[in-house]
Symmetry: C2
């Protein structure tokens, strides 16, 4: 009779928000990017995916994945690539030590939960694939480093590779065709610059999102400015950003963060047809690139007002392929950044998670504040945080 | 006793709307651009500046300019440059023929009227400076060609140089430091492709415009994508557009027109701080780059819907540094372009100027139509037209 034991391991993994943006694949199948990127890993106290990976001969024969109690399709090429790569590493272990149980041959059961609303449009796939890969690696007792695992997680979701580290993380684009050098590395741990804070303005999303993959590949194919971004602008920003992080120079960090966000969104509007109303195959798909919408512009205005008042860059906005604004600032400037925003938007939910003293917000443009009051549903207060954390708490 | 005679000459001059955009000066004083551009001259039946230039020893000693009955400052460097250059050409004539009256020494009185609301945010300075230069050249009996005069008008307002020609006009950026080769030339006369139509959706403007000069120079200084636009993208578009015009190939014309507009606005949003909310010298100036606003995006959506329905490019949007959409189309497609828009926006004013049969507009996205109904105050129906026209009708 076969071993009916259930083997399992659990982990949590963080969300990361890029300050040098990933947009464009040079190989869509392997998720190889056209440029390197850098992100800040956010604290798992506020945003995390919790995943338990289990395997057993007693499970149904096909692999399964439950996310927030709802069954997910695991037959897609991206999930399959992660399963295959991890099984292959486990099989190599088993081949070298015959005393090990043959976990690589058993069906996998993955159970995942996010501690934040998936609908909020946060980078949930990054945390999700990082947790999936990390949990299975733990289950399989792999000795692979986070950088080695990042190669696998990248094939699930490009930006997931950066969620295998805490702190400040670079995804080196690599040059090889097989993607073996397209990996995440640590720029600096969270402890190097622990005072980095993030205030996320979560916009009420009314539009449906088209997959980033379609969007970015249309940009690569049609934007005539994109090549300069990939070849000249991003390499310069990578260098400046690594230096800013190493020197804990917030003004440089903030300037590059904002210019990067602008640059990325500019190549989106230079896409043909421009990304925001994408119409592909005769179907009208609206993409959440509402950077260009009033809500996002109002968030830009608020950050510019705060910086003007401070006389220097103390806050930096960044937008992914969605309308949420992430505003980075340093702890010492909590009052003049988060406090001022709370003074204006204190009535939306989310402020209760940290002690922020509301400040006078008359420095902010009244029209911007009005637009934000109407367009923001909640705020999330968080900060730089650690990479995946092993946990004994099982979801099975 | 001095000659008290009043010498005068009158002209009208057209508006032009660029299909390859001018944005960025390599010499702000001489209005020398960082790239060449191409425009379509619009019919003066719909949009024109009418200008009378007069001079007399009986006039007050200082030059004067009246625009729509309101006195204008003529001491600015741009207006002065035009006066100086034209007087110098006249003085050369007088030196070669002593029988000519010494008009170059007399005070100038310029009276101008636009047949369209200046507040509509149309390219009034182009028509204004073209009319001013053409009228004074007529007054001075100069034999200068439109291209020679374009060198002078360019110093008044860059895009004015293109309004000295009808039809399809290129402004060759030139390479010389003194700007002597930065001139407008005819790509094709209006008669070559007379079926080009333009439907202008005039947006209700609530924001104040910052001068294009400040805006474009900030782009040149801070946009990291701009250089590629100037060096690679625009030269390619210039070539494609000249070919499209010569071959009367509307699909190519439309594609380049839309990609150009997107490219130009993308370098604006890549400007730091991004152009839309410009804050310079501590003052918050809002610029009418509401390309990114809902109204402009809705106009883009309408054009995309029309083209999708047609199965090819029959309409092309373009936006200058303001929210008005100019939609180019060919006469044969009046029903499926202007007719469909009229079907949706028939209640706004401006349709009465031409006979357009309203068509079913169910091909248009209902949300886009709603946004346009709220955001558009009038439409202007016009077409490709002639260059400046001499008139006996005096405004004095």
């Amino acid at each position: 009779m076969a071993d009916q034991k259930i083997y399992q391991a659990s982990t949590t993994a963080p969300v990361n928000i890029a300050v040098v943006k990933y947009w464009g694949k040079r190989d869509p199948k392997l998720n190889l990017p056209t440029n390197s990127s850098i992100s800040v890993t956010l604290s798992q106290s506020d945003l995390r995916t919790h995943t338990t990976a289990a395997c057993s001969a007693s499970f149904p024969t096909s692999d399964s994945l439950l996310l927030n109690s709802s069954p997910q399709d695991v037959t897609g090429a991206r999930t399959q690539a992660c399963f295959r790569e991890l099984r292959s590493l486990r099989a190599a272990l088993e081949a070298s030590d015959s005393s090990l149980p043959k976990l690589s041959t058993l069906p996998l059961k993955i159970v995942s939960e996010n501690n934040f609303p998936t609908a909020a449009g946060l980078a949930s796939s990054a945390a999700g694939f990082a947790a999936l890969v990390r949990a299975i690696a733990n289950l399989y007792d792999l000795s692979s480093s986070p950088t080695e695992l990042s190669r696998i997680a990248r094939q699930g979701s490009g930006s997931a590779c950066r969620s295998l580290f805490g702190g400040y993380v670079a995804w080196q684009m690599g040059t090889k065709d097989d993607g073996s050098d397209s990996l995440a590395v640590e720029v600096a741990p969270a402890s190097h610059w622990p005072t980095m804070r993030a205030l996320i303005l979560v916009a009420s999303a009314k539009q449906k999102k088209v997959s980033s993959t379609s969007g970015m590949q249309t940009t690569v194919a049609t934007s005539e400015l994109f090549q300069r971004r990939a070849e000249i602008v991003v390499p310069k920003h990578m260098e400046e950003m690594e230096k800013a992080i190493k020197e804990k120079d917030f003004e440089a960090f903030g300037r590059v963060t904002m210019m990067e966000s602008n640059s990325f969104h500019s190549t989106c509007s230079d896409t043909f047809p421009p990304i925001r109303y994408m119409k592909l195959f005769g179907v009208k798909w609206s993409i959440l690139l509402t950077w260009s919408s009033d809500v996002s512009w109002a968030a830009v205005g608020v950050v510019e007002d705060i910086n003007r008042k401070a006389g220097k860059i103390v806050a930096a906005y960044t937008f992914d392929a969605g309308p949420n604004a992430v505003i980075y600032y340093e702890e010492a400037n909590t009052d003049i950044v988060a406090g001022v925003v709370k003074g204006a938007l204190g009535s939306v939910s989310g402020w209760e998670s940290r002690e922020i003293k509301a400040q006078a917000s008359d420095v902010l443009d009244a029209a911007d504040v009005e637009v934000l009051k109407r367009g923001i549903t909640r705020v999330i207060l968080t900060q730089v945080g650690e990479g995946p954390i092993k946990t004994e708490e099982s979801l099975i």
